[in-house]
Symmetry: none
Subunit: 218 residues, 4 copies
Amino acid sequence: MPKPTFLNLPPDKRRRFVDAALNEFALHDYRAASVGRIVDAVGIAKGSVYQYFDGKLDLYRYLVDLAAETKFRHIDARLASDAPDFFSQYRQATFHGARFDFSEPSYASLLYHATYEPSAPETAEVSARLRAASHAYLLGLVDAGVARGDLRADIDRDMTVYALYQLTVALRDFLGARFGFSFEDAVHAGAGSPIGDQDLSAVLDELVGVLRHGLALG
Amino acid sequence: MPKPTFLNLPPDKRRRFVDAALNEFALHDYRAASVGRIVDAVGIAKGSVYQYFDGKLDLYRYLVDLAAETKFRHIDARLASDAPDFFSQYRQATFHGARFDFSEPSYASLLYHATYEPSAPETAEVSARLRAASHAYLLGLVDAGVARGDLRADIDRDMTVYALYQLTVALRDFLGARFGFSFEDAVHAGAGSPIGDQDLSAVLDELVGVLRHGLALG
Amino acid sequence: MPKPTFLNLPPDKRRRFVDAALNEFALHDYRAASVGRIVDAVGIAKGSVYQYFDGKLDLYRYLVDLAAETKFRHIDARLASDAPDFFSQYRQATFHGARFDFSEPSYASLLYHATYEPSAPETAEVSARLRAASHAYLLGLVDAGVARGDLRADIDRDMTVYALYQLTVALRDFLGARFGFSFEDAVHAGAGSPIGDQDLSAVLDELVGVLRHGLALG
Amino acid sequence: MPKPTFLNLPPDKRRRFVDAALNEFALHDYRAASVGRIVDAVGIAKGSVYQYFDGKLDLYRYLVDLAAETKFRHIDARLASDAPDFFSQYRQATFHGARFDFSEPSYASLLYHATYEPSAPETAEVSARLRAASHAYLLGLVDAGVARGDLRADIDRDMTVYALYQLTVALRDFLGARFGFSFEDAVHAGAGSPIGDQDLSAVLDELVGVLRHGLALG
DNA sequence: GATGAATGAGAATTCATTCAT
DNA sequence: AATGAATGAATTCTCATTCAT
C-alpha cells in the first residue's frame, strides 16, 4: 500500500512517478526491474521511493492492482448495456481490452508480465490475485451464458474459464505476430493505435467463431 | 553451442552436469538461475562451466533445445502410426506430452519458463525458437487435418495454431489447479505420475470436445 | 541542551515525547535508535525533533542526564538519614537503585546502554559524564566510610570506587540471570516489580558480605 | 565459519585481512563496523569478503572466537604449573590477560566490544558464547579454590564468578583511567607496553587484597 | 511552531565472468 | 582441462537532517 506521502504528492509529480515505474516494470520483469532506473527517470532521490512505498514489492503490487483496475474499468465502461448473448459479450470485452492494451502499452505489458511472473517467489501472491480477478470475471460471464442457454450446460466451467483466459491473454502475442506489432516498442513510443478496429474485429470474429462452433467440419 | 570440451566429457559427468543445470533452470527463471548453485551441485569448479559453454546464456540455449527435442521425440515415438483424425491426433500428442511432463518435471518446468521467459532480453531469441518449433509442429497437424477434411477449410490457420498452442501450454496450470499438483514440488521429489491416466483422459476429452464442437448450445 | 521550544511545550506533550524517546533509547543503543520511530510513536512531525533539540545526540544527552538525575534523586530520597556504617549505606543505595531499575525499566536500560555505549564516537562524552557522576557519588561514600573507620584506611580509593561501580552495574545482569528477568521485556511490559524484596535482599547480603570480608577462608 | 577459500589464502594475505578486520571491529562496534572500510584497508574487492565468509556476522563471529582463543591460549601458556592458591592463580591469569591486552590492543578492544555488544540482535549469540567461556573458566578456578580450602565454602559461586568477571573486564577501564592509557589509540599505534609490570603488579596486589580480605577494617 | 517531503551518502550483499596457476 | 580466487558493478534499502510551506 502506498504511504500517505505518496498520496499527498502533487498530482503531476505522482503521475510522473507512476509513469516511470510503469515503464520500468513493463520493460523488465520484477527481478530485473531496477528502482535506481526509476528514480533516474523521474529525477528524484532514491530515498523518496521508500517514502512513497514500503519497498520494491509494495510498489509492484500497487502498479499491478492499478493496471488491473484501470483495465477492468475501461472495459466495463464500454460494454453495451443491452444484454446480448455470451459470445457477443465476450467479444466486446475482449475488443475493448485489446483497445486498452494498444492505448496503454505500459499497463498491458505490466499485466502480461504479472500474469506469468515467476521471477521472484515474493511476487506469487500478486500474480495469484491478478489471475483470480480475471477468472472471477470470466466465470461470471460463463455462468450467465449457461443460465441464458447460450452455452451448453454440460461444459466444464473451470476448464472453459481457463481456456477463455488463456486465449484472451494469448491474443496479445497473436496480434503482435500477425500485424508485426511489438508492445515493447510501444512502451517506448507511447500510445498510438497500430491496429485498426477493422483488423481487430476480423480477428475477434474468427476467434469467437471457433469458440462458438469449434474447429470440426460440419 | 556446447564447446568440444563438453562433448568430450565422460558421459556420466556430462549427465550429472546436465541434470544439475536442468534442475536449476527448472526451479528458477533465467535471471534467477545461478551458475554457482549448479557447480556446487555437480561438485566442479566454476571455471569449468566456461570451458563447456560460452556462458550462462549458451548453457540455457542448449538446455532448452535439449528439452524441446527430448519432449518432441518422446511424443513422436508414441503416436499411433495408423492415421486417425486430427482431433485424436492432437489428443494423443497432448496426452503423451502431459505424461512426459509428469515423468520429467525438470524438462517440463524449464520449457514452461522458457515459453514465458521475459526476465532477460537476451533470452528472447531462445524463447522465440521454442515457440517456432511448437508452432511448426502444430501447423503440420492442422494442415493435415484440413487436407483430410477433419477441420473446416475456412479456419484461420495461424490463429488456430495459436489457440492450440496456448491451450496446450496452459494445460499444465489447469491440471495443477484441478488436481492440486505442483511441478515445482515434483522437480524436487523426482518423477512419479501424480495424475492418473483416467483423470488426464477425462480432461482431454473435455478439451477436445470444446475444440471440436465449440461452446455453443446445439 | 533542549531548545526553548521544548521547554515551552505543554507538559503533557513534553512528557509523551520524553517517554517515547526513552523507550527508543532503552530498546536500542545510540546508533540503532531511530528518530523516525520516536516521532511515529508520539505522533509529531520529524522536523519537530529539530525544533526541540539540536539533533539526535543532543536528545540522547538530555535523556541520559535526566535518567541519571532521576535515579540519584530516587535513591537519595530513600536513604535513611541516621548514619549507619558504610556497608549498610552502600547496601541501601544499591537496594533502592535496583528497585528503581525495576520500576523504571526504560531509565534503567538507557543508563545501562549509556554506560557501555561504544556504538558511536560522538557519545563518548555522554558516557564519560555518566560514569563521572556515579564515581563521584561512590567516592563520597567511600571517603566517609574511611573517615568513620568502616573501611581500611590503606585501600586504594579509586580502585575501590571502580570495583563498587562495576559490581553495582553488573548486578543488573546477575539478577537477570539468576531470576530469569529481562529488562528489555520489562520496557515493553511497563513497570512491575518482578523480583521480590526478599530475593533482592538475599543477593545484596551476599554481595555486601563479600565486600566486607572478602572471599578468603577465615 | 570461514569458507575454504579463506583458509586456502596465502598466509600473508590472510593475515593482512584479519588485521584489517580486527582493526575495524576494534574501533567500531558491530553495527558501526563497515565491510567497505575493511576492503579498502586491505586493498581487495568487496566481493572477496563474501568469498571468505558468509557475511558480516560470520566474519565477526570468527574474529571474536579467534580473539578469545588466542587470549586464553596466551594466558594458559604462561600460568605457573606448580599449583598455588586461588588468589595467586587468579592474579597470574589476570596479569597475563592484561599483558595480552596491551600487546594486542585490537584483540582486546574487540573482546571488550563483544562483551557488551548490544548494537545488533544478531550478535547476541556471539556475546553469550564469549561470556559463557569466561564464566566457565572462572568457575573452574573458583570451584578448585573452594575444594582446596582457599575460599569460604559458603560463598555464592555464581555471584562470585560474576563479580570476578566484572572486575576483570573492568580492569581495562581502570588501568586506562589510572595511567592515562587509551586502547583506541593503541589500536592505531600498534602494540607497545605502555604500563610497566611494576605498575600492573601494584594494581593487581591491591585488587587481590580486596578480594581476599574485603574492605572492612580488621 | 509545526510540518513532512526530499535528500543522498552509505550500508550489506550478489554473481557472472575472467584468468593465472 | 580443471581450478577457484578475484573482480566490481549492480542491487535494495536506511535514516539523520534540512528547509520551504
